[in-house]
């Protein structure tokens, strides 16, 4: 849709791009590699950056229809049923609270993106929201990013900032602009094919193309320093009628009791209670981070942070 509609009027895109892409992509060729060949003027990095920012409201010709479809789940943009699919909450750094990092499991891969909602401070015209983008360097992989502000007015008018890859950028808000988002796309120097010369199905063969080391699966973490706004933190579900664990975190229905015996059984019950509470609550609100229960981990789950090379 983005390629053919070309809503940002990029020089190489427009109607027929998709057709050309389908026709010219060779068997087993990575489509983005072909797209890069089809767009000699506009870099693939900028294309994915521009595409990412359209994901807030799906701002295409059919936006009205898409919004109408989403509205059946709730208020657009604040739709709790779909927000988790659209937006990513940032995690505040415990050692430097001025910075917020993307959760590693949500850090974009090549061509993918994350959108973060920023709640502007104050009201009225002239408010400035600034974001300082700092990516995790990975020179060997050519790590890079393309970020953009998305500003939406109370009337639904949508505007974008320039794209940028690192450092600070800002937007100045009008009085009726109270929704601000920042999109960040993974835009490395090279877009890698996952399974060269093979069916893309093989791309998911973990032993063959390990998640942790295959270039096409590399993630590009980053962190943001936000001023003039606060990154929005969403909850999933209402907790009415639920009882929270003393340490914070999970909730259970007040009627749920734990078998006071084996630890593993207790943990299992806990996991079930969390799931069912989330599924049955009318306004669906669960604790912010839904961490997997310990029982689901292998007995000797091992995660190394420092390799011995």
């Amino acid at each position: 849709m983005y390629l053919d509609e070309n809503p940002d009027a990029l020089p190489d895109l427009g109607e027929g791009t998709n057709v050309a892409l389908w026709q010219q992509t060779a068997i087993n060729q990575y489509p983005l590699t072909r797209l890069e060949n089809l767009t000699p003027t506009t870099s693939l990095k900028d294309i994915v950056g521009c595409f990412a920012r359209r994901g807030v409201t799906y701002n295409y010709a059919s936006k009205t229809d898409i919004q109408a479809a989403l509205a059946s789940f709730g208020t657009p943009l604040d739709n709790v049923a779909t927000a988790r699919w659209q937006f990513t909450d940032l995690v505040q750094r415990s050692d430097d609270a001025a910075w917020w990092r993307v959760p590693f499991e949500m850090a974009p891969m090549q061509g993918a993106y994350a959108i973060h909602e920023l709640v502007p401070a104050g009201s009225g015209a002239g408010r400035v929201v600034s974001v300082n983008l700092r990516g995790l360097p990975d020179g060997a992989r050519g790590a890079d990013w393309r970020a953009s502000f998305i500003v939406i007015s109370d009337t639904g008018a949508e505007r974008y900032s320039t794209l940028w890859g690192s450092g600070a950028n800002s937007v100045t808000l009008a009085a009726n602009e109270n929704k601000v988002y920042v999109s960040v796309a993974g835009a490395p120097a090279t877009f890698h094919t996952g399974a060269p010369n093979a069916s893309f199905a093989v791309d998911f063969d973990e032993p063959l193309y390990p998640y942790r080391s295959t270039p096409s699966k590399a993630r590009f973490p980053y962190e943001l320093q936000v001023t003039g706004a606060t990154p929005k933190q969403r909850d999933n579900c209402a907790t009415t009628g639920l009882v929270q664990h003393a340490n914070g975190g999970c909730y259970k229905a007040g009627t749920v009791t734990f078998f006071p015996g084996a630890t593993s059984r207790m943990r299992s019950a806990l996991a079930i209670s969390r799931t069912s509470a989330c599924q049955t609550a009318s306004s669906s609100h669960c604790p912010r981070a839904f961490t997997p229960p310990t029982i689901s981990r292998p007995r000797t789950t091992r995660a190394s942070w420092i390799s011995t090379a």
Binding site: Q92, R93, S94, D95, D96, A97, R101, P103, F104, E105, L136, P221, Q233, N247, G248, G249, C250, T263, R267, P287, R288, A289, T291, T294, R297, P298, R299, T300, T301, R302, A303, S304, W305, I306, S307, T308, A309
Partner: protein, 630 residues
């Protein structure tokens, strides 16, 4: 669980004499931020290789927690000479305290296990402290809200609750279970060769001499063909090896035994160095060629075509390097080959092996017929050949690999050039030039740390080192206002061994510094004595020093007294000695007073100040003096 993130760029070191690929932390700003999930464990094990490098007590190697009263940490030295684990959740602190601190400069393997009832602290595989620990790691979690921050770190604590860690970390792991003592023991480096079944052949390069290669296995020695020679240091690798020319040199051993013939299970290990790979080069063999599945030959070559009973390397071991190569056959149809402790290929054979029986074992060649012509010689060096009558496990092979080639000399300790006793004039921070060396470890991996015999004057944390080459610098920052002598010990470490130098550092007081600079000696005697007037100008040395004068030059400290309205202004120069401006109106009666005296420091270079004292002018004549307060 997700990755940890480094902050402020801890330095990755390729290798020291003990470990490879680890991170070093400077004790100032470098750290690793860990994910929240590492504390979200009901049962818990933390393991790591830790190399502390001295400094302040109670450095945090590991910290998981929500607050000062809801956290766990491990420190290599609690200041009282103990490594310690501590956990608290708002109540009484629960601790595991080892009998000793971790040795500075050396790698130690640390493990902490918690099962909700008992905690155990292991150092180098041995339980050094255990006791009732009823708290769990998951209780260290902050509330799962947007505003609560979880402080999970390596090499630092929350805020500045504990000093940061100065040293190195490697192979840090968290487990969602309390590992057993056996589990922890299995993590320790092997110290002896693991065997499977009977060890029939155990040839070590250093045992090859006078035509016989002594077999430390059970079936007797090997005799040479041609003149393969022992090389004590193969191509400057520091590893000894028996050199074979690839055309005529070999060793012949006793005949194989039933436990190695036919379909019997077996394992072969070699440490080999092949400068250039030919298609098929034989390290060890028995039986003879010609019939599929009946010859037994373990090759270090690049051949890519294999018979039904053969196993390929996949990617062959590289030429020009020592490799540990292993082969196992399980007595049925599974054969595996390993390169440097890691499984390279597993193959299911069409049928079990059927090795010809009762044929001689050969080193560096095969036989074309029963006891017949030798062929497919090895061109390179063999350090070790072992033949086992059973199947080595992957863990055993990895452990044997970790032992390295036999006869390799132990890592040489780093050197630290002698450090003369030093006397330092008074100043803030003093540098000392040092020289380190190491014959077999990269200099960048040689680290320095310090201990002090006078921590009140110069604590170890106030000694910092810089440099990564042979030339290093130590910066000494004694406690402000403290002077005297400290016996300092600097230790150079390559991770496996250390060497130390002890010297005496004397920090002079300001007046001692003044005497040394002007009289060549800090001693309060002779011409340098406080009560002596070295230049005969009527001002004693004590006053000359206090007013920052040259006691050997004809100068005086007579300042100018200026009336400024209702005040007298009295500018003067002083060293860091204490001076008091006092006045009186009558030299025959009354006392000296400092009432109404104020001072403004006009300049300060760290050792000399110019000062303007202001005092009331008084109704009549007024005398003003400078008094040295010693």
């Amino acid at each position: 669980m997700t990755d940890g993130f480094t902050a402020d760029s801890p330095v990755r070191v390729a290798a020291d004499a003990k470990r490879s690929g680890f991170l070093t932390f400077d004790g100032a700003a470098q750290q690793v931020n860990l994910d929240r999930s590492v504390a979200d464990l009901r049962d818990f094990t933390f393991t790591a290789w830790v190399k502390p490098l001295g400094g302040a007590a109670n450095q945090a190697v590991l910290w998981l927690g929500a607050s000062a009263a809801k956290r766990l940490y491990f420190t290599p030295d609690d200041g009282a000479g103990h490594a310690k684990f501590s956990i608290v959740n708002g109540g009484a602190e629960q601790t595991l305290t080892a009998p000793a601190a971790l040795a500075p400069g050396l790698w130690s393997h640390v493990a902490i296990t918690l099962d909700g009832t008992t905690g155990v602290l292991y150092v180098n595989g041995a339980s050094v402290a255990s006791g009732a620990i009823v708290l769990r790691a998951e209780q260290m979690l902050a509330a799962n809200t947007a505003s609560a921050l979880q402080h999970n770190y390596l090499a630092r604590s929350q805020d500045t609750l504990l000093p940061r860690f100065r040293g190195a970390l490697d192979d840090v792991s968290f487990f969602a279970t309390a590992l057993s003592a056996a589990d922890i023991a299995a993590m320790q480096p092997a110290t002896s060769v693991s065997n499977a079944g009977t060890l029939y052949v155990d040839l070590r390069a250093s045992d090859a001499s006078a035509g016989t290669w002594i077999n430390n296995g059970t079936i007797g020695n090997f005799a040479r063909t041609g003149l393969p020679a022992l090389v004590s240091n193969v191509l400057s690798t520091g590893v000894p090896g028996v050199q074979f020319n690839g055309t005529s040199q070999a060793y012949t051993g006793p005949n194989s035994v039933a436990d190695l013939d036919a379909a019997s299970d077996r394992s072969i290990e070699v440490w080999a160095y092949n400068p250039a790979l030919a298609a098929e080069e034989t390290t060890v063999s028995w039986a003879y060629r010609g019939t599929d599945s009946r010859n037994m030959a373990f090759n270090f070559g690049s051949n890519a075509t294999w018979g039904a009973a053969d196993v390929g390397w996949g990617t062959p071991p590289s030429a020009g390097a020592w490799h540990h190569l292993a082969y196992t056959h399980d007595g049925a149809t599974t054969a595996k080959v390993y390169i440097d402790g890691a499984l390279a290929t597993t193959k299911t054979l069409a049928a079990a092996l059927n090795t010809f029986a009762t044929q001689p074992l050969n080193i560096a060649c095969q036989r074309d017929s029963a006891g017949g012509t030798r062929s497919l010689y090895f061109s390179g060096y063999l350090n070790t050949v072992r033949v086992h009558g059973g199947v080595l496990t992957p863990a055993q092979i990895a452990a044997n690999y970790s032992l390295g080639p036999v006869g390799t000399p132990a890592s040489a300790a780093p050197t630290l050039a002698a450090i003369a006793d030093q006397t330092f004039d008074y100043s803030g921070i003093t540098p000392i030039a040092l020289t380190v060396g190491d014959t077999d470890t990269a200099l960048a991996a040689v680290t320095l740390h310090a201990s002090s015999g006078n921590a009140a004057l110069l604590p170890p944390a106030n000694i910092t080192f810089s440099g990564t080459a042979a030339a290093r610098t130590a910066m000494l920052a004694p406690i402000s206002g403290q002077y005297g002598i400290a016996a300092l010990t600097f230790t150079a470490s390559d991770g496996a061994a250390t060497s130390a130098r002890t010297f005496k550092a004397t920090f002079l007081t300001p007046s001692e510094t003044w005497r040394r600079q002007n009289f060549g000696s800090p001693a309060n005697t002779g011409n340098a004595a406080d009560t002596f007037d070295a230049n005969g100008d009527g001002e004693l040395n004590l006053l000359e020093c206090a007013t920052a004068q040259n006691p050997n030059a004809a100068t005086t400290a007579t300042p100018t007294l200026v009336r400024n309205g209702a005040n007298l202004e009295f500018p003067y120069t002083r060293s860091l000695a204490a001076l008091a401006v006092e006045w009186r109106d009558d030299l025959t009666t009354g006392v000296w007073s400092s009432a109404g005296v104020t001072e403004q420091i006009l300049s300060d270079n760290g050792t000399v100040q110019t000062v303007r004292a202001t005092l009331p002018a008084g109704p009549g004549p007024r005398f003003v003096r400078l008094r040295v307060v010693k």
